[in-house]
């Protein structure tokens, strides 16, 4: 007996096909509308941003030429001498890189401590007063949104040139960024330990210390390490505005066309950033792994 495939009547099929076509057409229309808006926005932004493609085409050769220019002279016969000449300033640059790392570290630690204190006040599950939560959140938002370089520019005027304004600028920015991330972690914790401490008569400090902190600490350290990584990049350019670190030498080399110095410093910065990324990623994975094992 041949299998009978039930067939829809023609009218019903036509209706379904029409509906399919309509759905496809609606999707196409949406995509075209989105593309049109995107193109209009691109043109408007291009007009606003002085995009000049002919100037770009005319001068683009300068971009690879710049990299060719900053490449050092190198020949195999005198590789070591060339290398020594290329990295002639290594002791000074290494010290400045160390300073950069210290600026990033001190800024992250100070900002992390401030963020740690403030994040509990910005968590709606620990603080009953809406006003305190709102005010703390706005404060953190302010610290986060104003770029650290702007803080550094202002602090350089107040505290003078040197690493101090750099550390303070990074600390303030870190307070805002970590405070927000910490608060998000705290808002997602289990509420039972908090209720337990509150029910046995703990004060607010005790609730935070014994109810909240043990749940969030490993997450906090992980976020702190990630922020340290970001701050190393930030500290490398702090010197552009006179706030210490390797940036000072870099901008000087760029502005005065000391070509091989530019490439040497850039390579050192890239290598340091990659090394720090690698180390913090390892530590973070270990921390998260430990947390996973504890559960």
């Amino acid at each position: 007996m041949p299998a009978a495939v039930p067939e829809f009547p023609q009218a019903r099929l036509q209706e379904l096909a029409d509906r399919y076509a309509a759905a496809v057409a609606a999707k196409r229309r949406r995509i075209w509308l989105g593309a049109a808006i995107l193109i209009v926005a691109t043109l408007a932004a291009g007009w606003m941003g002085d995009v000049n493609l002919s100037k770009f085409a005319e001068n683009f050769w300068r971009f690879p030429a710049y990299f060719a220019g900053i490449a050092p002279k190198f020949s195999f016969s005198s590789a070591w001498a060339d290398l020594a000449e290329w990295f002639w300033g290594l002791p000074r640059w290494a010290r400045l890189l160390g300073d950069t790392l210290l600026i990033a570290y001190m800024g992250t630690l100070a900002g992390g401590i401030c963020g740690f204190v403030l994040c509990f006040m910005a968590s709606a599950n620990l603080v009953k007063s809406r006003a305190i939560v709102f005010a703390t959140r706005r404060l953190l938002e302010f610290c986060r949104t104003v770029p650290e370089i702007v803080f550094a520019l202002i602090f350089v005027l107040a505290f003078g040139l040197g690493p101090l304004p750099g550390v303070l600028a990074i600390a303030i920015h870190t307070t805002g960024a970590l405070g927000k991330q910490f608060a998000e972690v705290v808002e997602n914790i289990d509420s039972k330990p908090i209720e337990g401490v509150a029910a046995s008569g703990g004060s607010w400090i005790q609730i935070v210390r014994f109810g909240a902190v043990p749940q969030v600490l490993s997450n906090f350290v992980s976020y702190g390490l990630l922020r340290f990584e970001i701050n190393v990049r930030g500290a490398a350019v702090m010197g552009f505005v006179g706030a210490g670190g390797i940036g000072q030498d870099l901008i000087e080399a760029v502005r005065k066309f000391y070509f091989t110095d530019v490439s040497a410093i850039l390579l050192l910065i890239i290598a340091t950033v990659m090394l720090i990324d690698f180390i913090t990623e390892r530590v973070r994975h270990r921390l998260l792994g430990l947390e996973g094992a504890a559960r």
């Binding site: 408007a44 971009f63 520019l153 890239i270």
Partner: protein
């Protein structure tokens, strides 16, 4: 039923010695860790020569600056219009930079993804190049591009394109590798080529994720585009740096307010768009 009063504490401790015994190993590790962190901080103070004498003076001066900042005031209408134009430049830099970076990064991220290009050498080479590009800060790219196309927002756009190219290449290739491989296999088992599998099996899955990442970067680029003007690459940072240098504090606070309002407006808009695209899912 017994009640736990203070007087029973000794009895409880005696009954459960394991719970109350101090864990010296744990405490030792914690003490060493904290001690190391504090020692490094103190070493930093010594090494960086942090002048504590200047701290109090500086605070006083900072307080003076803050007093001079209120009320925020652009000076004149002409100046206000100039700042709004600079703000438009900043938003344009962020928009075009993000768009250009994403468009350039998409093909490269396919090269860096394990499930698209099976060649290990191509993949490793692409990854390391992207890492190098990412290691250079946007401000440094801006410095380089200012030398190529001259001062102005165009250099800023190119700088944001460069640094976003590195970040997007990494993020996109990770998103593509995390995609479910069954649809692509389905396309291939129905007779499609490898490219068909990528186009109809892979891209439809990852496209919403990529779009939401692009929107997220648009937000963060608005913040970074506010500062690249400091090295002459256009936008509001140029005005801000200038007004800080000439100590026009009321204009400075006006500019900072302008930046705050713009960034939160863009946060809000792109947050809405993100949720419209991927639903209420968390962005990885």
């Amino acid at each position: 039923m017994s009640s736990f009063g203070i007087e029973d504490r000794a009895a409880i401790v005696q009954r459960y010695p394991d719970v109350f015994r101090p864990n010296w190993w744990q405490r030792g590790k914690l003490t060493i860790g904290l001690g190391g962190a504090i020692a490094l901080f103190l070493f930093g103070i010594v090494q960086l020569d942090i002048p504590f004498s200047r701290l109090s003076d500086g605070m006083v001066r900072l307080g003076g600056f803050l007093r001079l900042m209120v009320p925020p005031d652009p000076g004149s209408w002409a100046d206000a219009l100039k700042y709004l134009h600079a703000l438009g430049e900043t938003v344009s830099i962020a928009f075009l930079g993000t768009l250009g970076g994403a468009l350039l990064a998409l093909p490269v991220s396919l090269l860096a993804a394990r499930n698209v290009v099976a060649n290990r050498i191509v993949q490793v080479f692409t990854r390391r190049s992207l890492d190098t590009i990412r290691g250079v800060d946007t401000l440094i790219w801006a410095l380089i591009w200012v030398g190529v196309v001259g001062l102005g927002p165009f250099a800023g756009i190119l700088a944001v394109i460069c640094s976003d190219f590195g970040s997007f290449g990494k993020l996109f290739s990770e998103a593509i590798e995390a995609a479910d491989k069954n649809p692509a296999e389905g396309v291939r088992s129905a007779g499609g080529s490898h490219l068909h599998g990528v186009r109809f099996g892979l891209l439809p899955q990852v496209f919403p994720i990529l779009l939401s990442q692009v929107l997220y970067y648009f937000e963060s680029n608005t913040r970074s585009a506010t500062i690249i003007g400091i090295v002459g690459a256009g936008g509001i940072g140029l005005q801000l740096a200038e007004q800080i240098r000439v100590l026009e504090w009321q204009k400075v606070s006006f500019l900072i307010l302008l930046i705050l309002v713009t960034v939160s407006a863009i946060d809000w808009i792109s947050g809405k768009l993100r949720f419209a695209i991927i639903g209420r899912r968390a962005v990885a």
